[in-house]
Subunit: 279 residues, 2 copies
Amino acid sequence: MTRPRVAVLGPPHSFTHIAAVLFFGQDAEYLAQRSIPAVFEAVESNQADYGVAPVENSVEGPVGATLDELARTMLHIYAALEMRIRLVLARSGPGAPARVYSHPHGLAEARAALSRLLPGYEAVPAASTAEAAEAAARSGGYCVCSRAAAEAQGLEIVAEGVERGFNYTRFLVLAWRDQAERGERTSIIAAMPDRPGALYHWLRPFAERSIDLKMIYSRPVPSRPWHYNFYVDIAGTRLDPRVAEALEEAAERSLFLHILGSYPVHRLEEGRAGGGRRA
Amino acid sequence: MTRPRVAVLGPPHSFTHIAAVLFFGQDAEYLAQRSIPAVFEAVESNQADYGVAPVENSVEGPVGATLDELARTMLHIYAALEMRIRLVLARSGPGAPARVYSHPHGLAEARAALSRLLPGYEAVPAASTAEAAEAAARSGGYCVCSRAAAEAQGLEIVAEGVERGFNYTRFLVLAWRDQAERGERTSIIAAMPDRPGALYHWLRPFAERSIDLKMIYSRPVPSRPWHYNFYVDIAGTRLDPRVAEALEEAAERSLFLHILGSYPVHRLEEGRAGGGRRA
């Protein structure tokens, strides 16, 4: 296979970029995008073969922009990548001003550690943790980011593990191509009729077959205030007749039901050599 | 009753402040807070009698910080306030630089209108739409904010209704006091056992009694990756025996179930004189 072109959110050393390199390897061509819609559009327009975007964080919850793009797009989910997020506190050098750059999520995550290490610090929001590292290097100060981003900017690492508890992010690999046969998880979007008991009746085909729901999120429909689409991940592939039957029955109980794909879930370890995971 | 003290998110002319004044009237004492946890803490420490914070927007979805505070606090929901959000584009004056200040949600909402009215504009994120108006007045430029915020800063209104479609926000009024007797809606937080069919079985007591679910959101439990709490709004008061029975049966099927309150939902109209709504 030729060198794959992979659209990713954020510059090199963003967490999405790190996850993508662990999956596709150093030799792929990475196309950094400034927004989640841009990642989807790069694949849709065939500028990229794959796109990688975060979909859920175990502390912060779902990434709304990715769920909204999944509702709009015809792309499939090719794989999911789960990675533990580890944050460092780094600085431009000794005597750096107590100004901390990070993505708002990074600032929230590291609040307890920052209050202890740098009392009275000023928080400065940045578009991504990778851009926060650039800002700290350029303007002087501290940042909360990945180890790789800090090292790439030549920053001094002051503390490691400044995130709160266990923090995992799941990223989706998006493609035109579907690969249901390798799937261990199936993602769907559906809307139910607006009447009492609708969600209960919708869930019955899965409950009757003991199919496990891994995730269920509701998102408002912008054009219809207080109406919702549901994003549901279930265990299993739709090539399993039990899953296929449940999906068919659920579709009959839905206003619409769209299958985003059946796909494998890879657990990545940051810092481990990448490549070779993709078939 | 003495003049109530009301903790609100954001400075005067933030949308939370506008909603609070429509409900409590001009004569209440408003205590502006810089964060959602600070709104809850002001009531918990008895610095304020009531707190007002946004909980859901019909386009952007739930406000995570408010859901997380509801899981932590012992406060009750006293009332919900629903208000249509209308955004204006305002500027410091003719010849203002094409730099647009707003809260990231405001910038996202107005993207289509801005591309048409101000092609090639630079977007500058602010902590709130009210602070965006201050920044435009101070540094020169444009902002996307409420009409009231633009007028308070002496800005020139360039366009109205720059938001996308219909956009409603629901705010919660929080208090120590519970007022179940006037309730038309009941909010609960619950966690279900981690097994296939758990959500389905949990919903049965409501479905069997044709109790309508107005909202259901899942939020990750930070200490347990990929485990969730569910935030559920149902139609009706828990003083209705049918609702009380359903809640009791659901509690038996839950790891925990916490009732946040049964309360009335008020529809507010921005620009209409406030006061007198509170009994």
